[in-house]
Symmetry: none
Subunit: 245 residues, 2 copies
Amino acid sequence: MESTAPVIVLVRPQLGENIGKAARAMLNFGLTEMRLVAPRDGWPNPSAGPAAAGANGVLENATVHDTLADAVADCAHVYATTVRKRGVTKPVVTPEEAATEIARAQGRSAIVFGPERSGLETEDVALARAIVTVPINPEFGSLNLAQAVILCAYEWSKTQWDGGALVQPTGEDLLPPAPQEELDSMIEQLEAMLEPRGYFQPESRAAATRRTLRTMLTKPGWNHLEVRTMRGVLSSLSKPRRDGA
Amino acid sequence: MESTAPVIVLVRPQLGENIGKAARAMLNFGLTEMRLVAPRDGWPNPSAGPAAAGANGVLENATVHDTLADAVADCAHVYATTVRKRGVTKPVVTPEEAATEIARAQGRSAIVFGPERSGLETEDVALARAIVTVPINPEFGSLNLAQAVILCAYEWSKTQWDGGALVQPTGEDLLPPAPQEELDSMIEQLEAMLEPRGYFQPESRAAATRRTLRTMLTKPGWNHLEVRTMRGVLSSLSKPRRDGA
């Protein structure tokens, strides 16, 4: 399947450093295509590279455009990010919803971000089919450019996981619980140590006490290595102290 | 319903600026409780405030702790964030999965982040019940501290968006895991019994052996009744046999 990776468009970004950080945010989640509309300090910008922290390829391949219309000319689906909803009659979606739409879409998609301080102008938003708004703390909305980019990139990347394409399987490390008979032997060992110390007294409570112990020791789902470790612990505890105390 | 908002714990953070950025990331998504373990440059740190961009309340209320164990002593659910999985036998979850668990959990949760360059030490991870790993581009993993914090905060905040159908605690009869300090006391009790029996010999393996034990005993998520039962078992095992054998 063709990648549905969206283009990230930065409109009139002010600081080269923020362009670099946005590139880094993108590449962390597998986005590589950046487009810049009229960057304030021109392009290339010497501050961008250091902030990209290795995502230099994204910067080197970034294209520069005079207008947003030009930057998204080949895109079928344009999403404008805004922090707060404005009086516009366009669908407003979360980053997650946008990512889902983008992942299913035919044709290229673009997510457009405005300048650091002011955000997108109304005319920029007008070009978009939908608005992406990150639902943030209504009393403290202070997402910076790279953070807005990373949340959108992250959500897109999540649509690509497919139950684990990017995530390495965790199964190799996680052994299954030990067979019941190993667990039983461990519990027997413990009970044999507790019995002569009066733990199961009074006799009337013994059955319930055994059940409690078994429930507790079954709960972890210890694997065979862990059961073996616990048996080693019990064997150690059966030994006399070396200090003779 | 009581808020399930997790505590954010920064372990040995290096730059005040990054602490400030983490505070800003938190507050954007409604998290307010920050705990600092041995911040490199002490606390308060004059670089933190400007980077917090208004999230000063989070910084002012941040508490400082000598150890991670102290910082999470009142937390029933501790998540350690790591970029790459290590050879640890703990559940590995995504930020989304962690957020879902936290939203449903009884008892406080903590999400723990390591120092900027090195990430969490193995001993820090050993304190956690589960590991949170953000699935990032395998060829370019370069999330900074504030970005890791913001993704976790964002995912938690998403669990709060829709009315709570998802976030009701399941099963009233399921007690939460005991607070970390109760678990620690139990482990100390066991170690004090094992030590004089040579369990931690040779000395060169002692630290790894302690970690293995701790991991194994953290895995069950025993509630306070179960921890008490286990302590009773240990006390019994310390007694002489009644049959004199």
